[in-house]
């Protein structure tokens, strides 16, 4: 089909420019460069088309494999998007490319296996953003009262930590958007160990932290005029002689005690400490967390919507709208006081989960709510079903999606 030195015409369905760029990307592997895109595009549309193209032109992790016959064909070396206002288009694109970079970074991190990306390596990825002007602080949970985070990570030989990434793009007095991510670089379940089949997928249990890290990469990369803080609760959940035991009671950062009945309900523990710490230290204008939190949310919403919980209808509405605009769809689920009955404890303030046929997705969200200051507008995204895809998507191939990076970037604005 491809004849050297002859232009080949390609049909692209009518659609918005970003989606057309993505559709184009799917056609490009194996095309010798340069490829010219001549669609009589305005500067804005040209930039969006290029953005869509870059988003979709992501190649999953190949560094651990020798080249194989079934590898995808290479990209053309150059794609030229024609427009009457190339300088304007470039200017717009310069602010979109860092967002694509953030999405690709998040995808890379989720796909990295657990031996290569442990807590220290994820922290190093956070520190790498210092070159973009992000200030990064790494906190030892045992020294800062983050006892739930410490407990989750105590079974591993690789220590847990809280990473705090600060981007100040606006005046210091302006209260920041705070993004919190669950960063379990590997979740075996701990002593409440998971079944063997598909456990390798749990290298992706830091999808929430990856979304936050990718968002910070985007926000700093495009020099957003906004104050944003990213908080990553990072740990590895392993069984062992020193691991957390079912029944252990831990005093959280906030002071509430938790009886850990299931060491595999650990994401809500690390988030409980991170959210409470953020409320105390960061004066959030808005607090949003992302986490690959429950299997239950996948049972409810499948892989086509992430679960959204929020303590303010206005925040929920805003996120739902952004989700549609960024093709990262959310669906709101109830935050309900009645869930408390599922995880009441006889020996501590709360258990970390209920057993039996309980709505664990709702229970987990309600659990988290106990650790969030009621005065802070807060939303929780359960992205367990959307962090990875089992077929090619609109803006990426099958595999890690980088879900929520673009949503968070849009939420930050500036």
């Amino acid at each position: 089909m491809l004849i050297a030195h002859q232009p080949v015409l390609v049909e692209l369905a009518k659609d918005d420019p970003r989606r057309r760029g993505a559709a184009l990307a799917a056609l490009l592997p194996g095309c010798p460069g340069p490829v010219s895109v001549d669609l009589a595009l305005s500067a804005a549309d040209a930039a969006q088309l290029a953005y869509g193209l870059v988003l979709r032109a992501y190649r999953p992790l190949g560094k651990y494999r020798a080249p194989a016959d079934d590898d995808p064909l290479p990209w053309p070396d150059r794609v030229l998007v024609l427009t009457d206002a190339p300088e304007a288009a470039q200017g717009l694109f310069d602010r979109l490319l860092p967002v694509a970079a953030g999405v690709h970074l998040a995808r890379d991190l989720v796909a990295e296996p657990g031996n290569h990306l442990g807590p220290a390596e994820l922290a190093a990825q956070a520190q790498a953003l210092e070159r973009l002007g992000v200030s990064v602080e790494l906190l030892d949970p045992t020294v800062h009262g983050l006892n739930l985070l410490a407990a989750v990570g105590q079974g591993s030989t690789r220590a847990p930590l809280l990473a705090v990434l600060r981007w100040q793009g606006s005046v210091a007095e302006e209260k920041p958007l705070v993004l919190v991510g669950k960063g379990l670089t590997f979740d075996s379940g701990g002593l409440s160990i998971k079944p063997a089949e598909h456990m390798e997928e749990m290298k992706g249990d830091m999808g929430g932290a990856a979304a936050v890290l990718g968002a910070m990469r985007a926000i700093a990369g495009r020099k957003a005029k906004a104050n944003v803080v990213g908080v990553l609760a990072i740990a590895e959940n392993m069984p062992g002689g020193g691991a957390l035991r079912p029944g252990d009671v831990i005093r959280s950062y906030k002071g509430l005690t938790v009886e850990v009945v299931d060491t595999d309900a650990e994401g809500r523990l690390v988030l409980a400490d991170a959210l409470a710490w953020a409320c105390d230290h960061l004066r959030p204008a808005l607090l949003v967390d992302a986490a690959t939190l429950t299997g239950a949310v996948v049972r409810v919403l499948g892989r086509h919507h992430a679960g959204l919980y929020a303590n303010r209808d206005t925040l929920a509405a805003r996120l739902l709208k952004l989700g549609v605009a960024e093709a990262e769809p959310l669906w709101r689920l109830p935050l309900s006081a009645r869930c408390d009955d599922d995880f009441r404890s006889d020996v501590a303030d709360w258990k970390n989960c209920g057993w039996g046929p309980v709505p664990d997705n709702d229970d987990a969200a309600r659990f988290l709510q106990h650790f969030v200051d009621t005065k802070v507008p807060w939303a929780h995204l359960d992205i367990a079903g959307t962090s990875e895809a089992d077929e090619d998507q609109l803006y990426g191939p099958k595999g890690a999606t980088g879900f929520a990076v673009r949503l968070f970037d849009a939420l930050a604005g500036g």
């Binding site: 049972r299 499948g302 086509h304 109830p334 309980v358 709505p359 997705n361 709702d362």
Partner: protein
């Protein structure tokens, strides 16, 4: 238990239930009793944790100076927050305290309170309604129950100054009849309520003016209902389709609203058999049909000026030499073929034919189906909300508002092509399951294929049809979720 209405006065026997507003503000009857008791009630309150917070209770036995055996104080919360539901809660919570007390005579003083937003008549009527709902007990199989465990209350008097309270209660009483019927048939074990015997219960609604038609297997086979019949073929008990029509609107020919119910009288799972533990719960897998039957009784009982059709598909899902096998392909009445991957996803197979039949025969304005359909809904919304799926936003919103009004709340879940794709079959038009992910949603997508263009909503009540705990208006057990919701929907939007 006989319910009557009387003017406010101080009872001289049995039990009296009185309201106390937030911050220990006594209502007039409570104050009058307290005066008789020389301040004894107020002292009891101060010595306790009771503050008048909504649904708190404090029982004072034989207070000095009062002739009654007991005074039950029930918290009303804030006066301006008292709505119909709060009134029901007051009645039910109060009655629960005295139901097995030994007293045969109970009075509830429904005093006017300043700031009340509903009418006094509605307040009193709903208190009576709540008490009646809470009085329900499924005890027919106890042969050795001790006297002290049995309900003792024979007469309940609602004391109110509103002369129209009794009239306001009449339609609510009819709704309660429907609720009780549903609770009865859902609580009955499957050796007593099976397709033919449940159809016979439906037939009794003819006494209220409901036209009842029963289709047997021969007739259903002629109509091509291969999907429904496949589910019941393994049982010795004949499957039934029951159609109940209430034509109460002025225009007898106006298009009706239709309610369709899943009536799996017992669900073993079939060849894809369920585990033993907890299988006894599956006697209530006809909770959706039960709700539709109860709703028809309620609507006919209060002579709703509406045209309503209730259709219930009744089957028993059993394993046997004749049962359908995983992999069987059946042809539904609509002509669409279904590959039955899992014989335990049978409710949707029953509904597929029931929905199509209803749509074709009655051309309804809208269809609402109720079903204890998926275990997945229990682990997504628990027992608090039923799952709502719809192809029409207006209908969805109407149902959501009706649910809020009657305390049978719904939570809408998404639908879409991406979920629909999960039903793809290699050999038939669709599979009957779409994998573990989004299980309740793919079940709804399945049903959607059998409703055509009609405005339709599906309520997955698997988490709400049965309760493990008492609530203010419902003893643990069958809740009859859906009866009051459907009645309210008709009252709000589908009657003259």
């Amino acid at each position: 238990m006989k319910i009557s209405f009387a003017k406010p006065h101080l009872p001289t026997e049995g039990a009296v239930i009185v309201g106390v507003l937030d911050n220990k503000v006594f209502t007039p009857t409570a104050t009058a009793l307290d005066d008789l008791a020389g301040g004894g009630l107020k002292r009891a309150v101060d010595a306790s944790k009771f503050t008048g917070k909504k649904d708190q209770t404090l029982t004072v036995l034989a207070p000095a100076g009062c002739k009654v055996n007991r005074v039950v104080l029930v918290g009303l919360g804030k006066a301006d927050a008292i709505d119909a539901l709060a009134a029901q809660s007051f009645g039910g919570t109060g009655l629960a305290q005295v139901l097995t007390s030994g007293d045969a005579s109970v009075a509830i003083a429904v005093d006017a309170v300043p700031g009340l937003k509903i009418s006094e008549a509605d307040f009193a009527a709903n208190v009576a309604f709540g008490a009646r709902l809470r009085s329900y007990r499924f005890d027919k199989y106890f042969t050795k129950e001790k006297k002290e465990d049995k309900p003792s209350v024979k007469k309940l008097a609602i004391l109110t100054a509103a002369p129209t309270a009794k009239n306001a209660f009449a339609p609510l009483d009819a709704i309660a009849d429907g609720v009780f019927l549903t609770r009865d048939v859902v609580s009955e074990p499957a050796n007593v309520i099976y397709p033919e015997s449940l159809a016979a219960e439906c037939k009794k609604l003819a006494d209220l003016g409901v036209e009842v038609e029963i289709l047997g297997e021969k007739q259903m086979k002629k109509l091509g209902m291969g999907s429904l019949l496949g589910v019941g073929q393994g049982s010795d008990r004949e499957s039934q389709l029951v159609i109940m029509r209430w034509t109460g609107a002025k225009d007898k020919n106006a298009a009706p609203i239709a309610f369709i119910g899943k009536g799996v009288c017992f669900d073993t799972g079939g060849i894809s058999i369920k585990p033993a533990a907890g299988m006894e719960d599956m006697k209530w897998d006809m909770g959706g049909a039960g709700a539709v039957i109860g709703a028809m009784m309620a609507l006919a009982g209060r002579k709703a000026p509406a045209n309503v059709v209730g259709v219930v598909g009744l089957v028993e899902n059993m394993p046997s030499g004749n049962a359908q096998r995983p992999g069987d392909v059946v042809t539904s009445m609509s002509g669409q073929t279904i590959e039955v991957i899992n014989t335990d996803a049978e409710g949707r197979l029953v509904l597929a034919d029931a929905l199509w039949y209803t749509k074709e025969t009655y051309k309804p304005k809208a269809m609402v189906d109720l079903a204890t359909l998926t275990g997945a809904i229990i682990i997504s919304l628990g027992g608090e909300y039923a799952g709502l799926f719809a192809n029409n936003d207006k209908l969805a919103e109407r149902l959501t508002q009706a649910g809020k009004a009657v305390g049978e709340p719904l939570w809408r879940l998404p639908m879409g092509d991406a979920y629909d794709k999960q039903l793809k079959s290699d050999i038939a038009d669709m599979k009957n399951v779409g994998g573990r992910e989004g299980g309740s949603i793919t079940a709804a997508q399945f049903l959607k294929r059998f409703v055509g263009d009609v405005a339709w909503a599906h309520l997955d009540i698997a988490g709400t049809a049965w309760s493990k705990k008492d609530t203010a208006t419902c003893a643990k057990g069958a809740t009859a979720f859906g009866v009051r919701l459907l009645d309210q929907l008709v009252a709000d939007h589908y009657q003259d």
